[in-house]
Symmetry: C2
Subunit: 340 residues, 2 copies
C-alpha cells in the first residue's frame, strides 16, 4: 500500500510541527499551518492510513498525532533535505576551533561546540589508537627499576604507562631498548604491532631480554588491549531541555548509559567512511536509549577516519539541522587534524 505524495507531505508536516511544538498535532492545525490545499477531513483520512502503516500514533483517543520511530525514519530517509548551515554557525565553528593547541584541546572544544550548536548531548571519540600509527616511543627512567613509557601517535594522541622492571636496568640499556622499540615499531599502525612486539622480544640480546619482555607486555596491554579508546562528553544539561517530557519520564536510564564508556563507544565508534549514521529510538541496540536518537559520523584528516563523533537527543529532534551540524563539525575537525 503505497503512500502518495500528499500523505508523505502530511507526514512531513506532522514531524515538523511536532518537533517544533512538542505537542500532538491535529488535522485542523496542520491545514492552517501548511499549505496542503485540502480540507482537514481529507487530512484525517490520510492520517488514518499513516497510522495504520505505523508512521504516526495517537497518544489518546481525543488527541492529535505524534510520529512514531518508524515515522521519523521515513522522514529522515525520504522527506528531509539537509539544511545548509547558517553563516553564523559556520563562523561559530571556526572561531571555536582555531586556537586549539593540543589534541586534548581540540577534542574538548569540539565536544562543547557540538553540544552548544545542537543543544543536545555531544560525544567525541579521541582518535582511535587502532587507527593510529606510532610516531615515537619514549622511555623515561624514573628509577633503576621503573620506566615511564610514553607513546606518541601520529594522530596526536599521547599515552603513557608505568613499567615496573623485574631487575635494575642501566641507563645504556634503556637507550638500547628505546632505539630497538622505535626501530621496530616506529611508523607502524598500532593494530599491526602485536607480532612486531613479539619479534622484538625474540630478537633482543640476552641481557636485554628480561626488561624487553616486561616492556612488551606493557606495550601490548597499553596500546592494544586496555582502554585504548577515550571519549569526551558534554551537554548533559541539555537533556533537561524539553522538561521530562522527552525520554518518557525519566532521565535515569539515559544518564546511566552515558556513564558507560563502552556504551558511548558503541554509539559513535563504529563508523564507516563518510556516512552519517542516524539511529532513531528503538533502532538503538542499547535498551536505556530506546527513547533517544543518535546522529553520528566519523572524522579524520582527509578521507581517512580516525574516530567518531555525534550527538544524542530525544527522538523528537530536529534531524535535518542536527545532521547538518554534525557533518560540518566533523569536516572542520578533520581539516584541523590534517594540518598537523
Amino acid at each position: 500500500m503505497g503512500l502518495d505524495d500528499r500523505k508523505l507531505a502530511v507526514l512531513r508536516a506532522i514531524v515538523e510541527d511536532y518537533v517544533a511544538t512538542q505537542e500532538p498535532v491535529g488535522s485542523k492545525a496542520l491545514v492552517e499551518r501548511h499549505r496542503l490545499g485540502v480540507s482537514p477531513a481529507t487530512v484525517r483520512n490520510d492520517m488514518a492510513v499513516l497510522e495504520d502503516e505505523g508512521y504516526i500514533r495517537q497518544p489518546h483517543t481525543s488527541a492529535g498525532r505524534v510520529p512514531t520511530d518508524r515515522g521519523y525514519r521515513l522522514f529522515v530517509d525520504r522527506l528531509s533535505r539537509v539544511k545548509p548551515l547558517s553563516p553564523a554557525e559556520r563562523r561559530a565553528i571556526e572561531r571555536f576551533l582555531i586556537g586549539a593547541v593540543d589534541l586534548d584541546d581540540v577534542v574538548h572544544r569540539t565536544v562543547r561546540l557540538l553540544a552548544q550548536l545542537t543543544r543536545q548531548v555531544a560525544v567525541v571519540q579521541y582518535p582511535s589508537l587502532a587507527r593510529s600509527s606510532v610516531r615515537h616511543l619514549e622511555l623515561v627512567p624514573i628509577s633503576t627499576t621503573r620506566l615511564m613509557l610514553v607513546m606518541i601517535a601520529d594522530t596526536g594522541r599521547v599515552e603513557q604507562r608505568l613499567v615496573e622492571l623485574p631487575a635494575p636496568v642501566p641507563a645504556d640499556d634503556v637507550t638500547d631498548l628505546r632505539r630497538l622499540v622505535n626501530e621496530k615499531l616506529g611508523g607502524q599502525r598500532l593494530s599491526d604491532t602485536p607480532p612486531l612486539v613479539q619479534a622484538l622480544v625474540e630478537e633482543s640480546a640476552s641481557h636485554l631480554r628480561p626488561a624487553m619482555t616486561t616492556l612488551a607486555t606493557v606495550l601490548l596491554e597499553t596500546l592494544v588491549e586496555r582502554h585504548e579508546e577515550r571519549i569526551a562528553l558534554a551537554g548533559t544539561a541539555n537533556l533537561t531541555r524539553g522538561g521530562i517530557l522527552d525520554f518518557q519520564g525519566s532521565l535515569r536510564p539515559v544518564l546511566e548509559a552515558l556513564e558507560e564508556e563502552v556504551v558511548l563507544l558503541k554509539l559513535i565508534g563504529e563508523v564507516e567512511p563518510s556516512t552519517m549514521r542516524v539511529r532513531i529510538g528503538d533502532e538503538n541496540e542499547i535498551d536505556n536509549l530506546r527513547a533517544a536518537s543518535v546522529v553520528s559520523t566519523g572524522y579524520g584528516p582527509g578521507a581517512t577516519i580516525v574516530g567518531g563523533l555525534g550527538v544524542l537527543g530525544p527522538t523528537r529532534m530536529d534531524y535535518p539541522g542536527t545532521i547538518a551540524t554534525v557533518r560540518a563539525v566533523a569536516r572542520y575537525v578533520g581539516d584541523l587534524l590534517a594540518q598537523n
Copy 2:
C-alpha cells in the same frame, strides 16, 4: 536562647527521619519512632522553638517539619557521629582500588567507587600540578621544527604539549635543550618554576636562545597557567535518585554546574590538610548549587595534600555516612599514591 538537650534530640530525630523517608515529619510519628520519653504535645512545643530559631520549617501549614540548611548544619556540627564503615564497604574500597595501573586508572576507579558507595555524584581532582614537582621533562622531536614536550610529575601526572619552533633545530641541540631544562627544573615544585624558566632563557647559549624562548613560553603556559587542573566526574545518574523532589524541581542548574570544570574545582579544590569540608545548600557559593550539599576533603600521600575529592548530593543526604565514606576513600587513595 539556648537549645536544651531534648530539643537537640528532636532536631536530630527530624533530620534522621526526613533523610530516611524524604517526607515532612510530624510530632506524633516522631514520638512513635524515637524514644523521646515525652508526648507529642511537648515535641510540638520544642518544634515551635526550633522553627523560631530557623532550624526547621513547615512546607505547608498542615504538614510536618523539614530541616532547613541551618538545621542540617547544626546536625552535622554537633549532633552526628561519623558512622564507622562496614567491613563490606572497606573491602569494596580495597578491591576497587588494587590493580590500578596508572594515575588515570586510579582516578577513574576512585571516582566510580565514590559514586557507587555514596550513591551520589562523585568528583575527583587529579593531583594538582601546582602541588607537584617535576620528575622529568622529555623533548621528542616530531619534525625539525616541532617538538613534543612531555612533563612527568612526581605525583604521576603526565602532561604533553606540542612546541612549534621558530626555526629548525638539529638533533644535538634538542639533546642540549633537554639536558638544560632537566638540570634546571628537575625536582622543582611546579609552582616555583616560573623564575627558573626565565633564568633558563637568559643563561642559554645564543644558538639555543630562540628555541629555548619558545620552549619557555610553552612551559609556562602548559605547566602553570593553562588548564593545569583536571577533574573526573561520575554518578550523575544518581541525581535522579530521589525523583525530582530534591533539587527543587529541576536538575538543569545542577547538571550545568557540573559541566563547568572551574565550578568543580571550586567545589573540591580548595582544601586544607586533613579537614572534611561540608557545604550545605545555601552555603555553596555557586548559585546553581543552592539546593545541593557538597562533602569534600583533600588527599595525598602521607600528610601532604595533592588534590581534592568529594561528593555532591541533595541537602537531604546521609551526612554521617557520606562523610565517613569520603574520608575513607581519601585515605586509601593517599596510601596508594604513597606507594608509588
